[in-house]
Symmetry: C2
Subunit: 251 residues, 2 copies
């Protein structure tokens, strides 16, 4: 049977890929991906054939993968982070219904929420919501509704795609919504260019976050009511009942 692996390569740095992902890339016949991510891999697989399409040509990229598989080649379709979180997995399964002779297997990776959280400390230590601020394919009203729901229910919130050239003020609008339901002093974190050149983190309050400029290569964390700063990191305790005398109950 023809085979395509949809591979999450992690946040950027080669070593943050799983051992399994590396094996799949080493053993496949051709690697298909977005131009930028393919370039991250090329130096590690100099002998390998790469086929790329630029941004906004996701469907073409998927069909390219299925056509290669139909020609009997084992294909690795690569995505940054994990392919299942705002990635290509869904579209691959959707288009895959037209290619029943091709098996599609997902190889999970470290998504930006998890990688960014690790840089900042432990902001995702308790229940959290992941929201993309891109309104390219989702109405802004739906996004607003989710932001308010997550804020009111005291989820930690992790934002993907917090802003772009066309949506400069989206993070600001999101902060203004959250400020109606959360204190100004809520601890937040910014992780930019995770595991890439220029990696940067910042810890700030929700009030301060409102004034920050971010881009598509940034992941933003907004704490819950228990999130706090400690030694230059942020952490969200797992339990509410922290008893500092009898610590056995903390986790």
């Amino acid at each position: 049977m023809n085979k395509i692996y949809v591979v999450g390569i992690g946040p950027g740095e080669y070593e943050q890929m799983t051992i399994r992902a590396e094996k799949v890339l080493r053993d496949c016949d051709v690697i298909v991906g977005y131009t930028v991510y393919a370039d991250l891999l090329r130096e590690h697989f100099p002998e390998k054939e790469f086929l790329t399409t630029p941004m906004r040509q996701e469907e073409k990229r998927c069909r390219l993968a299925f056509e290669q598989a139909a020609a009997g080649r084992t294909v690795a379709m690569v995505c940054s982070g994990d392919a299942g979180v705002y990635g290509m997995s869904g579209l691959m399964l959707e288009i895959g219904t037209e290619y029943p002779q091709t098996e599609v297997e997902m190889v999970p990776g470290v998504t930006a929420a998890v990688a960014g959280a690790a840089l900042l400390g432990a902001p995702l230590g308790h229940d959290f919501a992941v929201i993309s601020l891109s309104n390219l394919l989702t109405p802004w009203e739906t996004i607003e509704h989710r932001i308010v729901a997550a804020a009111k229910a005291d989820f930690v919130i992790c934002f993907y795609n917090p802003s772009s050239k066309k949506r400069k003020d989206f993070l600001k609008k999101a902060c203004e919504l959250m400020l109606q339901h959360k204190p100004e002093t809520t601890i937040c974190g910014i992780a930019a260019r995770i595991a890439r050149e220029g990696e940067r983190t910042e810890i700030c309050t929700l009030q301060e976050l409102r004034e920050r400029q971010t881009d598509m290569f940034t992941t933003v964390f907004v704490g819950n009511s228990e999130t706090r700063a400690a030694n230059g990191r942020i952490l969200t305790p797992r339990g509410y009942a922290v008893d500092t005398d009898q610590r056995g109950v903390i986790v």
Copy 2:
């Protein structure tokens, strides 16, 4: 400076660890962890010293790590999945304030939400909420509030710790709450013993999920209004505006 790495080893299978995690484990002086996870690693590092504590001795385990570091040894504290998602990272940072001479670095891993989603297809293709159904350290009222908020805002929902011996009916209670706000036909997925012996997945409706028995080694996914089944997998499309004639707009 003394150094502790807090390492997410992924869902279970050795190869789902990142290359970086493997390097840290190979280079460290001692591996500290929960007995069960240490046993998963021992065969791969037969020469390495392991120090373990059983469940519910999380604080003791953290202090063991800091004491080893204080003795000048490089320590790897291991957690399954990612250490930042309901894991040990937060407690390590908390206790770490008492050991300012020790640097704590997080090494992210593939968490169960991402690994389970990959097995089921692409349920996390759009905004999602992660909720633990364990009320060991969180009041059940808070958990209920979050379930209802996530259901009403049409998040995909991923449940960790869906039930245990003492909480047999928690998933059922969660389903009954969601059924007040979501259709009975909502597509759900169950991923049990991810990347371990006995791995199993099931796709069912929310009505059917209500009757399922699960355990602590299971991750449960409840779709949003767009989640659907395709070829024995489930997928949540990234965009709302799927135009099957002009596919360029799907992702």
